[in-house]
């Protein structure tokens, strides 16, 4: 197991307009990007669980030109509305940093773990 935060060069969250929240997970090398892809750990079900969002509203994109994942969900509370705690949406990625990726950090890809699901 390796933590996603140790594999990625950048994990960030940000508004995509006031009504959506978008997450970028970017890797330094194609190898680490492909390893994470192969692990299958980043998927709609993961975000549905972490961010209490109905799975059908989670959009997951694999963006090969930048060795990156993008995940977009409706904002739990519209930016700046009463009860919002992060107007720019910039500090919502914390739980992703500690995410355990089921790969062996030294010898490439292991078997995809039972907890990983196909990308939706």
């Amino acid at each position: 197991m390796v933590k996603l935060g140790d594999l990625a060069r950048l994990i960030r969250s940000k508004n995509a307009g006031p009504f959506e929240l978008t997450f970028d997970i970017m890797f330094e090398t194609r190898e680490s990007y492909e390893m994470v892809k192969k692990s299958g750990v980043i998927n709609a079900q993961l975000f549905s669980g972490l961010y209490s969002t109905p799975i059908e509203l989670v959009r997951v994109y694999e963006y090969d030109p930048a060795y990156a994942y993008k995940i977009t969900i409706p904002r739990p509370i519209v930016s700046g509305s009463l009860g919002d705690s992060d107007v720019h949406g910039g500090q919502q990625f914390g739980p992703l940093v500690d995410l355990e990726v089921p790969i062996d950090g030294t010898s490439g890809v292991e078997e995809v773990s039972a907890s990983a699901h196909a990308k939706t």
């Binding site: 994109y61 030109p65 700046g80 992060d86």
Partner: protein
Amino acid sequence: MGAEFRLLAATGMVGTGFPEESLRRGLDLKPDMIGVDAGSTDSGPTDLATGSCRYPEASYRRDLGLLLPAALGAGIPLVIGSAGGAGGDANVDWARTIVEDIARQKGLHFRLAVVYSGQDKHYLKRRLAEGRIQVLPSGPPIDEAVIDRSLVIVGMMGCEPIQAALRAGADVVLAGRSSDTSIFAALPLMRGAPAGPVWHAAKILECGAAAVEYRPSPDSMFATISDDAFVVEAPNPKLRCTPVSVAAHSLYENGDPFRIVEPAGTLDTTFARYDQVGDRAVRVTGSRFVEAERYTVKLEGAELAGYQTIVVAGIRDATVLEELDAYLDSCRANIEVRVKRTYPDLAPSQWSLNYRVYGRNGTMGALEPRKDAIGHEVGLIIEATAHDQEIANGIAAVARHQTLHEPVRRWAGLVSNIGLPYGSSDLVRGAVYHFNMHAVVQPDSPVEMFRHVILDL
């Protein structure tokens, strides 16, 4: 088209600055225009609702004070979009005053076109009745009441209203709410440059130098569009574009990294190729622009949510922290009794009380997975909101007093449970707002929702 079209983006946002040297180097590259974005919804609804700008007037004056003489000196148009922070008519007029002041002070003479994007409520209600307003995914429903409650509604213009201003002979276009890309796409499209590379280059440029590998502070960006490609490079020689840094910019603040929806169609970067040119530039090919079947203009609206007063405090007592939820629940119950006593006519829907606990889940709220992890102290914000400022002040005072002296099981006798960093502790936030629409209109023409005023300065 054969010829090249050259675009200089001064910075990502007027008011955030750029090195003067970058502007000079950018001008040496012989741009056909200078563009700059000047607004965003990112800081919440207040700028739209009130016409305020979250950047200081002094920095706005500094940036525009360099850009106006630069563009006029080079004899090229300057296009400023989403002026004044949110692009509402009041924001635009604020920016317009600054432009007029600079013109006077520097003895500059030019034709200024001010393009307004504020929307008429009767027009929107008619379009709504015609079924020509559609709510976008994740948006709240829209009806006549929402339109009526809105303090300000803007339409996000495409490039056509900017082109109309340029055709009217504008040297400087000061535009209300604009799609970020339209600021840069308007002129090259008018001159016949190819749509795919134009829209994609515009998307890269709108954030200034954000698409470079490492950008220590806001800076300029330059793009050269030729037949089927564009090359992007920062004028500042210390900044470097790489295929990954440029491709990665398609991710920033977009919901979808491959498709960026504009009023007239969609920029599709699925088949884009990014190749290094020299050490600091990147050539992009394969960008496509797919025309929409129907032209759409996005709406942004803001309405009043109430009036707010907050108190900033800290809790250090371990016995309170051990049972923090029960403690705050008990405070809340006692505050409700006291508010009812003080304001017997106040309906529950007219006020609310919110505790934000920093050090536990202040940043992520209900989504925080580690809300049981708590330090030796927490920061507390007591937030009172009501339909009236005086009442919000009163509720905050009651809440502060109750939270201070709420009995704690471990201790016998009167306690003081919150540390207040300031005397006269209650901070009046004033009116607070929320965004109330995420929808598009189908107009008859791309320009009918926008109007421009020509001023010969």
